[in-house]
């Protein structure tokens, strides 16, 4: 579905190669987690994927078509981006916010139709947040707003969903809500999901494969092969244990950080 080949990136006025020869792919119905220490270039990478930053060389392909050749409108019909939830200048209502997701299908100088608003309401309902439809986004909790942003991304039926740390800054319950939604979406088999996260154990929960970014290089593989004590030591600088817990025929893994690793 989405394939990245030999991607290189560095900031225009800097020598530091943020990433070098990066290659991976995400199939339809799969989730990829991007992990890495703070400042390693996770956000930069996501911005490259979204075309906000230009990469130096390499290629990004969607359905074997290079995004460089793709028109913006085609690209944004395929790809949806869920930003981190934060306060906005104007407090739109949940419904108004959600219907904005249909923008690629609304012609310039036209308004969304009544069906579009109905569709937006349905989308909120699907996520179980229809009660937010008339609520001011700036008066919602972080979790609620994140849900609305997800609804806004899903409403246009994208093929690829790119999420930038959707669960950070949320409390445990809201984190779980978001993770459940991602799991559900993944289960539908319709989307390729790329999620940028701070938490390695979230990768366990939701991602089939993981991209671990580091200073010297990267690892891309199945999640269980990437998130292990060795990599956590090499890439995050911590000594840890991975604990597993079986519950109702499902296995849950958690990372128990023990202490800082001395190199």
């Amino acid at each position: 579905m989405i394939k990245v080949e030999n991607l290189n990136f560095q900031y225009p006025n800097s020598d530091r190669q943020i990433f070098e020869d990066l290659s991976f792919n995400v199939k339809k119905g799969e989730t990829l987690a991007i992990l890495g220490a703070n400042g390693i270039g996770k956000t930069t990478f996501v911005k490259c994927l979204l075309g906000f930053l230009e990469y130096k060389s390499g290629n990004i392909l969607i359905n074997d078509e290079s995004i460089k050749q793709m028109s913006a409108s085609k690209y944004w019909k395929l790809v949806a981006y869920v930003p981190q939830s934060k306060r906005m200048a104007f407090g739109f209502t949940g419904l108004e916010m959600t219907v904005m997701g249909l923008s690629p299908h609304v012609k310039m100088g036209k308004l969304p139709k009544k069906e579009d608003y109905d569709k937006a309401y349905e989308q909120l309902k699907k996520l179980g947040i229809e009660h937010l439809s008339e609520q001011n986004c700036n008066k919602m909790s972080g979790g609620e707003l994140q849900m609305v942003l997800i609804a806004r991304a899903l409403i246009k039926n994208p093929k690829i969903l790119i999420m930038d740390e959707p669960e950070s800054h949320l409390d445990l319950r809201n984190q779980l809500k978001i993770l459940n939604i991602i799991e559900e979406l993944n289960g539908l088999g319709e989307y390729s999901i790329i999620i940028n996260t701070h938490f390695p154990h979230h990768a366990f929960r939701i991602a089939q494969s993981t991209l671990l970014l580091g200073k010297e290089g990267y690892i891309f593989d199945k999640t269980e092969n990437v998130v292990n004590t060795k990599n956590l030591r090499d890439y995050f600088g911590i000594n840890s244990e991975i604990l597993s817990y079986e519950h109702a025929e499902k296995s849950y893994s958690a990372i128990l950080p023990i202490d800082l690793h001395k190199f």
Partner: protein
């Protein structure tokens, strides 16, 4: 809940439109030249029947054009304010704060001194309005981001640059003839444009208003973070230029015939937002109606309270400031409604 909002919006349109129409009719009947409402009516249907030929002339040549001008100017400035607030994602801006009015008035003053024709004055006003907007934008934008503080400061800088420009022009102007012309018009008044000038200026304002109106929903998207807006499939750069173009044309056209009218562009969208909400789908047309009502009331007071015209900028600030204070107090300076 959903129904409540819709109901408020629907009621708002009905009520405000009726108010506007009633006010327009009243405004046509009010003025320094005493004309009974009945005579106003007759001068519209049968202007030749009057023994005092002045009555139909006052109604047709002076009052009706001026009432229409007030309505269009009010709607235009309010729409421009709402649109600028959207594209800068910042409820604290207006054409005045961003320095567009300043730039346009410099252009218009230059036009008065050098060209003198309505078209020339307007063209220069538009050009310098753009230049001002560009300057403010360039100064405020750092590392691809525009903060509220930088934007307001950049606006202050731009305004003062063009403000000094106007002072400089005044210095070069002939003190007995050109200087009064410039000061005269800087004060802001709808008194001076004749029917012909109004007819000549209207098209550019109306066409721009139609475009802003058509693009009003896209304004919502532009008010989000730039990257967020792009991800929603908006060609942000192009849209911004388009919106800036039309708002500048509106502001410059108004400045070139009526001078700088402050406060309306800031206050009206705010006030309207409190009634109909943030969605520009409703906010823009509602602001236009509210702006028209506000300007109509202000201008009717300005021209009929005393024998000499009260400058509009004074009246609109006088009426606008209490509003502004009320809004500030109500929202505690956090503009989230």
């Amino acid at each position: 809940m959903v129904k409540d909002r819709r109901k408020i919006q629907k009621n708002f349109y009905i009520l405000s439109s009726i108010t506007l129409i009633v006010l327009m009719i009243a405004a046509i009947c009010i003025g320094r030249y005493t004309i009974s409402p009945l005579d106003v009516f007759y001068s519209l249907i049968n202007p030749t029947s009057f023994s005092d030929a002045t009555i139909p002339v006052v109604v047709q040549e002076v009052r009706i054009p001026r009432v229409l001008l007030a309505v269009v100017v009010g709607a235009g400035i309010a729409a421009a304010g709402a649109a600028l607030q959207a594209i800068f994602g910042n409820p604290l801006v207006s054409e005045h704060i961003l320095g567009v009015s300043s730039g346009a008035s410099f252009g218009a003053a230059l036009g008065i001194l050098t060209i003198g024709t309505t078209f020339g004055i307007q063209t220069l006003a538009v050009l310098f309005g753009f230049l001002a907007m560009y300057l403010t934008y360039k100064i405020a934008r750092r590392r691809g981001r525009i903060t509220v503080l930088m934007l307001v400061l950049a606006g202050v800088i731009t305004s003062s640059v063009f403000g000094s420009g106007v002072s400089l022009l005044k210095y070069f102007a002939d003190a007995r003839n050109e200087l009064p012309a410039i000061t005269f018009w800087l004060m802001g008044s709808l008194a001076s444009p004749s029917k012909e000038t109004i007819i000549r200026t209207m098209p550019s304002i109306l066409i721009s208003l139609i475009f802003l109106y058509k693009y009003r929903w896209q304004l919502n998207l532009l008010s989000l973070d730039e990257e967020e807006a792009i991800s929603l499939g908006v060609n942000v750069k192009r849209m911004r230029i388009v919106i800036i173009f039309f708002t500048t044309v509106i502001v410059a056209a108004i400045v070139s015939i009526a001078g700088v009218i402050s406060f309306v562009g800031l206050i009206i969208p705010h006030f309207t937002r409190m009634i109909v909400g943030t969605d520009n789908k409703h906010l823009l047309p509602a602001s236009m109606i509210m702006g028209a009502i506000f300007m109509l009331i202000t201008d009717t007071l300005a021209r009929s309270l005393t024998g000499s015209e009260i400058p509009l900028s004074i009246l609109s600030s006088l009426l606008g400031v209490p509003f502004f204070i009320y809004l500030l107090r109500r929202t505690g300076g956090i503009w989230d409604d």
